[in-house]
């Protein structure tokens, strides 16, 4: 496989997989590049991500990205999470093949959309 040992380890045991039943925000994004889909569920309290889970109909890289990204942001303040960009996550995903960068983007854009969903609900 074209993935590093470190990434394979993550893939074999991805973190934060599944649904959050009492999530207060969620989002689904379909990648415009490969057509794969990711869901992210958020439980936010006190402007902090208390819990986060993801599901994907996606490739190995999307599972790795979902696991890594959710681990990075869990417990973090929303305002800090909003500053995360592709560079941050790719650094954590050192060794991801370039053809798979869009999979990391899929995870990131799903997270951003879920946060937007939260803010929209809160604004109301």
């Amino acid at each position: 496989m074209t993935y590093s040992k470190k990434l394979i380890k993550i893939f074999e045991n991805p973190k934060n997989v599944g649904e959050i039943k009492d999530a207060n925000a969620k989002a689904r994004v379909k990648s415009s590049i490969c057509g794969d889909i990711m869901d992210i569920y958020l439980k936010i309290g006190d402007n902090k991500i208390e819990d986060i889970k993801f599901q994907t109909f996606g490739c190995i890289a999307s599972i790795i990205s979902g696991s890594v990204l959710t681990e990075i942001v869990k417990g973090k303040k929303i305002n800090d999470v909003k500053k995360i960009n592709q560079k941050h996550i790719l650094r954590k995903l050192n060794g991801l093949p370039p053809i798979k960068f869009h999979c990391a983007d899929l995870a990131l854009s799903t997270l951003k959309k879920a946060i937007k969903d939260y803010e929209k609900k809160k604004g109301k």
């Binding site: 394979i8 490969c34 994907t56 053809i99």
Partner: protein
């Protein structure tokens, strides 16, 4: 961990006896078949004996077999050089199918850019071309029909007899890409009206980089490679003697027993998977109209590359469609052609056997695979 290789449609292990046959032709009998001296004569004799073996395997004359660097070259040769050689008198139409190997499709794309018209025939849900569709597509401008014999992704075996008969009636050249079916499905040019057949060695435990094109005597075709006039002036370039020797040896050792064995393992794996994993579906036909070594299964809701990844972690080598597809992110054109949605196509994996696979390996896969699918379905957004 012992590796289990289930990607034999991509390529196979070279048989020990093939290697043994080839070795002397690298460092002892290394002559150029065009040389007049002893070394050259020795190489030439071995090459012609090999040509006879390959010709016999399809009921052809030895001088109707032209060695090439493989299947890709032979297919490029047919599409381009049948096209160019016959394009006079207004003939500029080629008929092929939506389930060809990329080397046929991309050659056809080039021909379209050069002003040819190409019809890409639909197939049914199991991947069969309807001979009636071929008949209906033929016009007085048609010069060539090219239909893959055994499909590399879903294993569908086409009815060459019926399609060939139509082409003959209409006076149109008929070509088949038999890379996947060669030695697995009988093909005899005395019985099937066919003008051109693409063959290669590395799918049948021969070496990579060697193949052949059968060209029926009297067929009007130009040279693809111009040079010193090798292969009756149609395919120049110093012949790959070790490759040719290995190719012939691979053809010679192919036998019915191995096919039977692969069929049994294939059906054991297919039935085992369908029984133990819910929402799994076989792509392509069942039974005798399917290549003896091909298995292609759709697992609803999970992504094929991820399945492949978990299999790989258990040292089981599978494929998501064809090896070439891994260069792109597009869903397989073959699976789309049989009516799958892009999502379904991306949920399908191919397992392809060889004579070297064992019952124990199949049992192991049947133990591992249900767990992998279950795990992935937990991750999946579709449940």
């Amino acid at each position: 961990m012992k590796k289990i290789y289930l990607d034999n449609a991509a390529t196979t292990a070279v048989d020990e006896s093939v290697i043994k046959a080839m070795v002397p032709y690298f460092n002892e009998k290394y002559g150029n078949a065009s040389s007049q001296h002893l070394f050259g004569q020795e190489a030439k004799r071995a090459m012609e004996e090999s040509r006879v073996i390959i010709a016999k395997a399809i009921g052809a004359r030895y001088d109707e077999i032209y060695f090439t660097s493989g299947g890709t070259e032979a297919n490029n040769w047919v599409i381009k050089e049948i096209g160019f050689a016959n394009q006079a008198n207004d003939k500029n139409h080629i008929i092929t199918t939506k389930i060809e190997h990329d080397c046929v499709l991309n050659s056809c794309n080039l021909m379209e850019k050069l002003g040819f018209n190409v019809t890409y025939l639909d197939v049914d849900k199991q991947g069969f071309v309807n001979p009636k569709d071929v008949e209906n597509a033929i016009t007085d401008k048609t010069l060539l029909v090219s239909v893959i014999h055994g499909n590399n992704e879903i294993g569908t075996i086409q009815d060459l007899q019926s399609i060939g008969r139509i082409c003959k009636e209409k006076g149109v050249y008929f070509h088949t890409d038999a890379c996947q079916s060669f030695t697995k499905v009988k093909i005899n040019v005395k019985k099937i009206p066919i003008d051109l057949i693409t063959l290669n060695a590395h799918k049948i435990h021969g070496p990579k980089g060697i193949g052949a094109l059968y060209i029926r005597k009297g067929t009007k075709i130009g040279a693809l490679l111009h040079g010193g006039g090798h292969e009756q002036g149609l395919r120049s370039g110093t012949e790959n003697i070790p490759g040719i020797i290995g190719f012939a040896r691979a053809v010679k050792i192919a036998n019915f027993r191995d096919i039977k064995k692969m069929q049994e393992l294939r059906d054991k794996l297919i039935n085992g998977i369908l029984k133990s994993i819910p929402d799994a579906k076989l792509n392509g036909p069942k039974g005798n109209k399917r290549l003896c070594n091909n298995i292609n299964i759709l697992f609803k809701g999970v992504e094929a590359e991820a399945i492949g990844g978990y299999l790989d972690a258990k040292a089981i080598c599978s494929s998501t469609g064809s090896a070439c597809s891994s260069h792109t992110l597009d869903p397989s054109h073959v699976l789309i052609a049989i009516g799958l949605s892009p999502e379904q196509a991306n949920s399908s994996i191919r397992l392809s056997l060889s004579k070297f696979n064992t019952k124990e390996e199949i049992n192991y896969i049947l133990k591992i695979l249900p767990k992998i699918i279950k795990k992935l379905r937990k991750i999946s957004v579709f449940r």
